[in-house]
């Protein structure tokens, strides 16, 4: 655009992405109204009053992400191939999430179906080499290595893992939207400081601002729940951005709280299952509305259960702890990004 000639591309990317905040905010508000009116509600089980909260409002985030990816391409004339791959990954995982929200699929289907959601990245990457992914993994302090066979195959696993691990760490009001906002914000700052490309900066910024729009209604006490549609697509967005933005290792570090939660859940339960199907719940609600660790030895050792071990806490305090952990892991991720350019 001629009028934007005096601004650098990173500034333009962030300015365009800022628009994602009001759009996501308005869309969340719309989904709250529409879903409530159509009986799409969930029960907030961590409140004594067990209020009914509109579900699937997280759909606002993938819709905003896809719309803004198109707007950015049209405004700046950016290469449409990575944006198409990104939009398809986010859109497909949102569809899987929406289907799961409505049909209540068995636990095994989500990881299986989300495996296929990475196909647009893989196919477009193979069709247009160098435009979607770069199979050279850059390692902090040690250089890097070329993974021309393994890297494409891991793309499918990455999308499935990131989408499902984000899906698993949304037990409390605002824990996922706030936590992933911290991750995307931190990685955005890291990319800005280390000279990431403008397209990746735009996509991280649009993820951050669209999440903040949803977070406004999702924070404690929640007036909107994300649903699988939001959780899976937000996780897939992080996974796709790790590949497109070459922030693979930093993204793993930033998602340490998610990794810990999923690993301990799966290592105890030993199968893919839904929280609603668990016989032994990880936490219990006390009469004063504090959460305490379950006394059932068969209960999974989730991150929340670890945080309340020996000391029951109020929901908002636990959410603050989770954000503190995301802040710590994201700080390590930003250091990782800096170290990626350093050789021992």
């Amino acid at each position: 655009m001629p009028g934007m000639a005096s601004l650098d591309w990173d500034t333009i990317a962030i300015l365009v992405a800022l628009g994602a905040f009001p759009v996501s905010l308005a869309l969340t508000r719309f989904f709250m109204y529409w879903n409530s009116a159509h009986g799409i509600v969930g029960i907030d089980v961590h409140k004594l009053a067990r209020p009914k909260i509109p579900e699937m409002c997280g759909a606002a985030v993938p819709v905003t992400l896809v719309v803004f990816a198109v707007i950015y391409c049209l405004m700046t004339g950016a290469n449409w191939i990575p944006f198409t791959a990104y939009s398809l990954v986010v859109g497909l995982t949102a569809v899987v999430g929406a289907v799961d929200d409505r049909l209540k699929l068995r636990g095994i289907f989500k990881p299986l179906l989300t495996l296929f959601c990475g196909l647009p990245l893989l196919i477009l990457g193979l069709e247009f080499p160098g435009q979607v992914y770069d199979p050279t993994l850059r390692v902090p302090l040690f250089g890097g290595y070329h993974l021309h066979i393994i890297y494409p195959l891991t793309i499918l696993i990455v999308i499935s893992v990131t989408s499902n691990t984000v899906n698993m760490l949304d037990p409390l009001n605002g824990s996922m939207s706030g936590g992933i906002s911290i991750v995307s914000g931190g990685l955005l700052i890291g990319l800005l400081l280390t000279g990431g490309n403008s397209s990746s900066i735009f996509l991280y910024a649009s993820l951050l601002f669209s999440l903040l729009g949803f977070f406004y209604y999702n924070r404690f006490p929640s007036r909107a729940f994300s649903g699988n549609v939001g959780q899976l697509s937000i996780g897939a967005s992080l996974g796709a951005l790790a590949i497109l933005g070459k922030t693979e290792i930093a993204s793993v570090v930033a998602m340490f709280p998610n990794i810990q939660n999923s690993f301990f859940f799966l290592s105890r339960i030993r199968r893919f299952t839904e929280h609603r199907e668990l016989k032994a719940r990880p936490t219990r609600l006390l009469d004063d509305e504090r959460l305490a660790s379950s006394e059932d030895p068969a209960a999974p050792l989730t991150l929340v259960r670890t945080l309340v071990a020996g000391k029951p806490a109020k929901e908002e305090e636990i959410v603050s702890d989770i954000w503190g952990l995301f802040l710590a892991s994201t700080t390590l991720a930003v250091i990782t990004l800096f170290l990626t350019g350093v050789m021992l």
Partner: protein, 80 residues
Amino acid sequence: MNKRVVAYQLGIFVTQWALMILGFGILTRIVAPLRLVALNLPFGSYFDASVKALVALALSAIWLFVWDRQVRFYFYRRPT
């Protein structure tokens, strides 16, 4: 904020972060340059990549095992 548990978790994260970078260092400097299977064999490059992927998988399993022990050490010392 439950400072005690957050501080302990932070310690775990820093340990796992350091181990992870060390693991990637081993893969980059030691495992990746190895020629485990002759590349001129049929599917030689695929076998070579598979063996290296298995080494990476084994390192990941060790990494998760260390993580598991640290969390369990904290959790099972405390009453639920």
